[in-house]
């Protein structure tokens, strides 16, 4: 039987890869996909612990997925709006408020 700490370790590694993606990529859509990866690593951990304790972790994962779907719809709309104004989704170019 798989120890639950293996799942915790896998989740931590996936979360760190997502964090790294947010930090080093400049394409706004890839940054957004990295955020999705981080959400998924947290979901994996919720399901693993729901196996140990109670079914309610899975309910929480269900709500996280719904919120993520809403977030993707709004976020991609924002990216399209930024692209209309700037002609680019390189986040290094979005520096209008730089002093």
């Amino acid at each position: 039987m798989v120890p639950v700490s293996y799942y915790v370790a896998l989740s931590a590694i996936l979360f760190s890869i997502g964090t790294l993606g947010v930090l080093i990529r400049r394409n706004a859509i890839v940054i957004f996909m990295s955020v999705e990866l981080m959400l998924n690593s947290a979901n994996l951990l919720f399901v693993a612990f729901s196996r140990l304790y109670d079914l309610e972790g899975q309910i929480f994962v269900f709500f996280v997925m719904t919120v993520a779907a809403a977030e993707v719809a709004v976020g991609l709309a924002m990216i399209v709006a930024v692209f209309r104004n700037k002609r680019s989704i390189d986040i290094d170019q979005i520096s209008s408020m730089k002093g």
Binding site: L10, L14, L23, V30, L76
Partner: protein, 170 residues
């Protein structure tokens, strides 16, 4: 090593490799395809953990609907690759070092603090089935479920308002 652990390790290697592929691909379309592979692997993990309903939702909503939306926007904007225009050269190595530190301290805490947690046994029949999830969702969590529908409506209206052309006022 039991077959369970071997299966876990193979799936974990696939998950981490596809996550790294997403991180390192120059082309955003390849990143999206690697992320779909990663989400499918996590759906298999859900099946192993006795969550068949969540696994199916993962495949249809995440790997299906959300990633189609991503691919659609990438191809709509023609944003597969960015031109080379680096403004912060020192930022990338610093980020890599910080991520390695994050992994190291997370691994340290996991393997020193969670040793008392029990192993995951095979799920009994009916655990995490659509029936069990539905009963819990519509009895105990009915109000959050309804609030979720309002949230999705607001997100839909927000997406339409933000992408609308603001000049046609009359």
């Amino acid at each position: 090593m039991t077959p369970d652990v071997i299966l876990f390790l193979i799936l974990a290697v696939v998950a981490i490799a596809s996550a790294l592929g997403m991180l390192l691909s120059k082309n955003a379309v390849y990143s999206a395809l690697y992320l779909i592979l990663n989400l499918a692997t996590i759906a298999v993990f859900y099946l192993l953990l006795g969550a068949p309903f969540i696994a199916m939702v993962q495949v249809t909503v995440y790997a299906g609907a959300i990633m189609v939306l991503f691919l659609f926007v990438i191809m709509l904007l023609g944003a597969e690759q960015l031109r080379r225009a680096r403004t912060l050269g020192w930022q990338q190595p610093v980020a890599v070092v910080l991520a390695v530190v994050l992994v190291a301290e997370a691994t340290y805490i996991i393997f020193t603090k969670t040793s008392s947690l029990p192993d995951i046994e095979a799920a009994e029949a009916g655990f995490g089935s659509p029936q069990a999830i539905g009963e819990l969702l519509f009895n105990q969590y009915l109000l959050p479920f309804e609030i979720t529908s309002v949230l999705l409506l607001v997100a839909m209206i927000g997406a339409i308002v933000m992408t609308r052309d603001g000049k046609k006022k009359e």
